[in-house]
Symmetry: C2
Subunit: 367 residues, 2 copies
């Protein structure tokens, strides 16, 4: 029997100048907005200027919280929530990469719920989070269309995601022009994050006919962008394809969640400062290899949609896109592997992902 259960409440509006042309989508949420961004990309991309102009035009007053860190911590989003409480906005506009969008969602909850950030992870928020409008300036996170927010928890020395239906953004504006200011390494790292979402959703216990449809469409678009990603000469069409592939990856993991790849990637980010997408990419070839025993035809389908002949070629591609000299010690591999095997993400993987499987993936990738 089929499983076509489907839930995607975010309205996706794609095209050039969609922010400017859809003022009504801002207006419907009220007259006061908090813009949540990082220090640079929102301005650099031109997205911030477009949003500010629309809000000015509509007489919507706004304040900016531009203190979002890379891989934002719980402490960081508490600061954002304080800014929100002082300004008392009707809605939040998140502009940026995954960090800014994930922070915007957490702030939307904390702004109206007077509890410690740990409570983000328990769901059942007493008060409905503020509506979030999400505007990605990278093409990878998919956060603009998911119910997830991943925060760094300093006490736990890792990143931990939470998910709640109430934090799906209400509207996601996809304008690939905002991704054109990304530099080469960020473009590649975030593109691989999108790929990772697509691959993990396809090789997940929770894969469904609905998520498969999204993944296959996403992989085709990702493959279209691949020549540009390799040659580092980026056309508008490639930016557009990647942004859409990224949204499709987000829509897919909104249904399936991620797998052990994400669980194994988090310590690489936390302890070794490897950007999130790159961290996943360094492990993905081994995840494909691991899955040959559980879902060979699915692995082959992924390779086919990417126009790659085998996992070896996939691994070479990752080496081109994600150069690294990171090598882990046996102790690190042991520690990260055991921790990852205990996560919910790991349990969504196919087969039985125990600590040995995790250790093997890390060892074969970075040992």
């Amino acid at each position: 029997m089929l499983n076509f259960s489907f839930y995607m409440p975010t309205e996706i509006i794609q095209g050039q100048e969609v922010v400017t042309r859809n003022g009504d989508r801002f207006k419907q949420f009220g007259t006061r907005a908090l813009i949540v961004t990082g220090k640079r990309s929102a301005q650099l991309s031109g997205a911030f200027q477009d949003v500010a102009a629309v809000l000015d035009n509509l007489g919507i007053s706004y304040q900016v919280f531009d203190q979002v860190e890379n891989n934002p911590s719980t402490t960081n989003v508490v600061q954002g929530a304080e800014a929100a409480r002082q300004f008392n906005p009707d809605f939040i506009v998140g502009i940026g990469g995954g960090s800014a969008l994930d922070a915007a969602k957490a702030i939307a909850v904390l702004a109206v719920n007077d509890f410690a950030p740990e409570c983000l992870y328990h769901g059942n928020y007493p008060n409905q989070p503020l509506p979030v409008i999400a505007i990605p300036t990278t093409a990878g996170t998919g956060s603009e269309v998911t119910q997830y927010s991943v925060l760094t928890i300093p006490e736990k020395q890792t990143k931990v995601g939470f998910g709640d239906r109430t934090i799906f953004p209400k509207v996601a504006f996809l304008d690939h022009r905002y991704t054109e200011s990304m530099e080469l390494d960020t473009t590649r790292n975030t593109a691989v994050d999108a790929l990772s979402h697509l691959v993990e959703a396809y090789l997940s216990r929770r894969a469904s006919d609905a998520s498969d449809m999204l993944v296959e469409a996403g992989l085709k678009l990702w493959a279209r962008a691949l020549p540009d990603l390799k040659s580092a000469a980026f056309s508008s069409g490639m930016r557009d394809s990647l942004l859409t592939a990224s949204a499709l990856g987000g829509m897919a993991i909104a249904h399936t969640g991620t797998t052990v790849v994400h669980a194994l990637g988090y310590p690489l980010t936390y302890f070794h400062d490897i950007p999130h997408g790159k961290a996943n990419g360094l492990l993905m070839a081994e995840y494909l290899r691991y899955n040959l025993q559980h879902a060979r035809s699915r692995v082959e389908k992924i390779l086919k949609l990417l126009n790659l002949k085998d996992i070896g070629e996939f691994a070479e591609l990752m080496q081109i896109l994600l150069p690294t000299d990171l090598r882990l010690t046996p102790e690190q591999i042991n520690e990260y592997g055991i921790a990852a095997s205990r996560t919910k993400n790991a349990s969504h993987s196919l087969g039985e992902v125990n600590s040995q499987v995790c250790i093997d993936i890390l060892n074969n990738s970075l040992g």
Copy 2:
């Protein structure tokens, strides 16, 4: 550039016994429900009994309006709205084919908006319609996942649809077991309705990368059911595929609307009592032929996904599935063609659908 704008706020829950297993989806809307159905199919399918048991279990009181006609008229939904006002429900559960689901949506508006049914067509309802839970017992309408409701307007002597974002059902339960009591002709007619939505969404000015994805997935599933549809021996798997294909057709037209096929089909239903899906099916081969000049590769893709070699084979298939001896007079063809050419649906078709195009399609199909 891509167009992946996407909006599908309905939560789709698919599988066996999903109604029974998801009581929380009813409970979230309140403690009083109006069940809207036709006279027979809701009971015959077993869906009514499952819903009643769930509502009883949850202590949700309910009343039944089972007076929905085939191709419900504005008068008919006004009756339903009166029943709703007397009972004062928190939400509506529509169970049945397109007639019941479309009526449920109209009743959801009229129950809380004290205006004439003509106002359904103007949008901007002063009061938010009651939430609708939709449970299809046919596999064709897609109404469970659209913002549309098509009503017969006696004064205009035709069916006219209205669309409003506020009437998307909140939840659609897809359980193919509820479609197993359909008889052969209803199974075929409604299956062709689903096909018509898929084909029209693909051959529409409003087609997008998002709707194309939905259509292609839907056509593949429809093709899977085709051998059973021809042989009239129905497996559970075929019912399941068709119900999913139908939902995908609904999701697609939620983005694109329908085309001149629907506009031309309405008078066949109104004046000649041809069931809705069949009416579309009688015209579809000619719509494909018409589109050869505007989008040959898209027509060929449709045929390929259906495993048909050419439009001739498509036409033969429709003749097998939809036997008819209906023939129209030149006067009828003229009258229906002119009326259809003036509709919004017609303007969504590719090329310039003027009255001559409409007359030609009717003449070649039923002259």
